[in-house]
Subunit: 439 residues, 2 copies
Amino acid sequence: MTETKQQESPKTHRAVRWHPPSYDVRVEDVPFPKVEHPDDAIVKIALAGLCGSDLHIYRGHDVITKVHTSGHEFVGEVVALGSNFLAVGGEQAASNGRPVLYSTLKVGDRVVSPFTVSCGECRPCRQGFSSRCARSLLFGSPALEGGQAQYVRVPYAGGTLFRLDDIKPDLATESRLTTLADSSLLLLADILPTGYFAALQLLQHPKLLPLLGGNPYPHTTLALSNPVGEAATSKDLLSIALIGLGPVGICAVVSLLDLLWKNGISYYRIIAIDPHEQRRNLIKAIYNKILDANPTLNQKSTFEAVDIETAKQRGFSADNAGFDGVIEAVGNTSAISLAFDLVRPFGVITSVGVHQDQPLPMPGRALYGKNVSLDFGRCPVRSVFPLVLDLLVRRQDVFGEVGTETSLVDRIVGFDEAKVYYDLFDKGKCGKVLFDPWK
Amino acid sequence: MTETKQQESPKTHRAVRWHPPSYDVRVEDVPFPKVEHPDDAIVKIALAGLCGSDLHIYRGHDVITKVHTSGHEFVGEVVALGSNFLAVGGEQAASNGRPVLYSTLKVGDRVVSPFTVSCGECRPCRQGFSSRCARSLLFGSPALEGGQAQYVRVPYAGGTLFRLDDIKPDLATESRLTTLADSSLLLLADILPTGYFAALQLLQHPKLLPLLGGNPYPHTTLALSNPVGEAATSKDLLSIALIGLGPVGICAVVSLLDLLWKNGISYYRIIAIDPHEQRRNLIKAIYNKILDANPTLNQKSTFEAVDIETAKQRGFSADNAGFDGVIEAVGNTSAISLAFDLVRPFGVITSVGVHQDQPLPMPGRALYGKNVSLDFGRCPVRSVFPLVLDLLVRRQDVFGEVGTETSLVDRIVGFDEAKVYYDLFDKGKCGKVLFDPWK
Ligand SMILES: NC(=O)c1ccc[n+]([C@@H]2O[C@H](COP(=O)([O-])OP(=O)(O)OC[C@H]3O[C@@H](n4cnc5c(N)ncnc54)[C@H](O)[C@@H]3O)[C@@H](O)[C@H]2O)c1
Ligand SMILES: NC(=O)c1ccc[n+]([C@@H]2O[C@H](COP(=O)([O-])OP(=O)(O)OC[C@H]3O[C@@H](n4cnc5c(N)ncnc54)[C@H](O)[C@@H]3O)[C@@H](O)[C@H]2O)c1
Ligand SMILES: [Zn+2]
Ligand SMILES: [Zn+2]
Ligand SMILES: [Zn+2]
Ligand SMILES: [Zn+2]
């Protein structure tokens, strides 16, 4: 590890490459990535994730013809930096109003990257919407080589990367952080922030605030001077349905529980839905595990993991009105339809699934008739990073383990097994897989 | 006016009746409404509104076969009460936990009603979602006789009605209130709350808070302890597009400006869109009028009223990213499409238009790709009443006048002219019309 601006210089490195039209990935030797712009960094990859989102491209959902390196989740170490990184060579410089990493990031720093590039300087970035940065690029797409490789080029690296040394929410976190495994930190690239974003976006919606101890709707500080949340007027039970129990859905459940408990909501009804029994069993085991660590919870709260038919019955039996909030973490039309069926009037649907070209299945009349609110889209990982890191550190019982009954990461394999595991993962025959490019 | 439980008892009264299948309203004598349930009130109508929403039924958009009295906007005086009104006869009683009007409302009280019935006691009502009350009924629909009549029956009247004597947000309001004309108070039944709801719902969305002086997204009190809005980090210009300049759209513009100014936002870009030049001219005149009364506004702010083509150019010229928020106050697919075209990534669309059976025109991929949030539905008039009343009182320059160049209410006519004015209103040849059933 050296403090100077330098580049390890093998001629080629190994990468998992996607080939058109579908179901074809190959491990190939490709040219070593170069600094192409003064804001670039080159990262040597320690671990790379295989993710549900990779399957959209793998299966040929998108019309793509360009062969490219797959993968958008990685942790690693900086091995080269462009000339805009002023700390290169050891001297520290002012950042000139640019993101602070341009004045502090050094070769040798350990970093994790969000799954999209964000400059940190444009209007969306400044406002906290990093996933819609004006210069956004998605790793592992035709526009940008991915992270299932030994090395990767990171554009706008001072805005994009998160340096793992910079983490000090509190002392407890800091001291525990040095012990976090790469397999745990890798979850920060995509799925944990995305699950957290889904849960936070749902609970933050003004239509749910009355149930989180706020005043009745419209409970606004905008129009009146009484602050939101001053008086708890509603003793009604908060009910939430979560659709899809892949890695993102699991992260959403854990995040949701954390946010509820943090805000003193220990009385709720949560239903988690997936057609696959194995995935339902996993979330039940995880729930029980974290419940054991939180013995103060209200015994009247309920958490169920059910199939789609049972979910529909639950939705309509309790109060015949549906769930206050629904998280959709699947990414197909039938899941969005189910979300709409399950949500109550004046309820909220938060969708983090990646959807295709079909129109939404609900007619305008029905949306009006239920006063539904919907949120769509890509997680602004960089913007929610600090919040999510805090959760990751505190929930090492769930996010720290590999290959146990309750762990989110199923196994870590080498590139030689990439083809096999793409296939198994595609068929739902394994959980989340990480690649060690050096194995 | 008498304090006893009594009922004026003509055998019949005059009402504007809708006949299937479409474009057929007739003024007819119908049986006098009776108290059918102990929670009912009978109201003698002073003024009733003709509204854009009446046109959905008038034009036969809904498959309705039942002849019924039209109209869902009215102000008037209580002339009879069911036995659950304990103050009847003068004595005041405890409300037994029921809405307070059950213990205080008296024959002779002046009232205005939201356009839907709400019990004030069910879960949605308690939470502030009165328009989706579990017992909701829409006036002027097959389910409930409307207000374009001399008398009307109001179910769950203790939860539904708003007594105009109860208004005392502050002294200034109270003293001015006695001078408010019925034609002004009638706007509280539907269009002013609906416009206000559209504006408030938009500005309250978490995705817009960074532009209202809040921290960057996700700026949450749920996950962190720093309160929303503590530090103003964004100096970015807030931009809002408003689609549809009927009475609801105009009320939305006036409400939006009021909410912005109240919150210290005097630097904005607003664009109001309607294909009809006359409607654009009206909003311009109203804007200039209220601007004259607010000379402290930032001169860099812009307000334009434009046609659809110009709107599209504006949306894409400024920052090539679109508007932060879009209000849709039309109720058709082309307006929703336009809203989607105009909104920026991570922007918010608030739709108060009443939509029909078509699916939304945007594919799931596009909604994901823009990280759009959407809110739909019917205004919870009863729940937002106090906020809206405050605005009504302060903006008598706009809402107090009838028949001037800048007034929202075009004219007040008798039932003999109902047929003619339905036709003119349907063709966009007149502004908002009120009926005086006694003229
Ligand atoms: N918004 C973002 O930023 C973001 C980030 C990462 C992933 N994603 C997307 O989130 C979605 C989930 O990701 P993942 O990695 O968990 O995927 P996954 O494919 O591993 O899991 C999806 C789960 O949904 C279940 N499912 C399928 N149809 C269902 C239905 N109708 N009802 C209930 N469950 C159903 C499947 O059985 C599966 O368990 C994908 O669309 C992915 O592309 C979005
Ligand atoms: N959500 C609620 O609670 C609620 C309450 C009242 C009314 N509404 C609905 O709100 C809508 C507006 O009501 P209104 O009384 O103002 O109606 P209106 O018919 O008087 O006005 C609609 C305006 O939209 C314009 N318009 C039509 N197509 C357009 C387009 N593509 N782009 C821009 N403008 C377009 C028309 O020229 C017209 O000026 C209606 O659908 C009505 O039913 C909803
Ligand atoms: Zn991923
Ligand atoms: Zn950016
Ligand atoms: Zn109306
Ligand atoms: Zn109710």
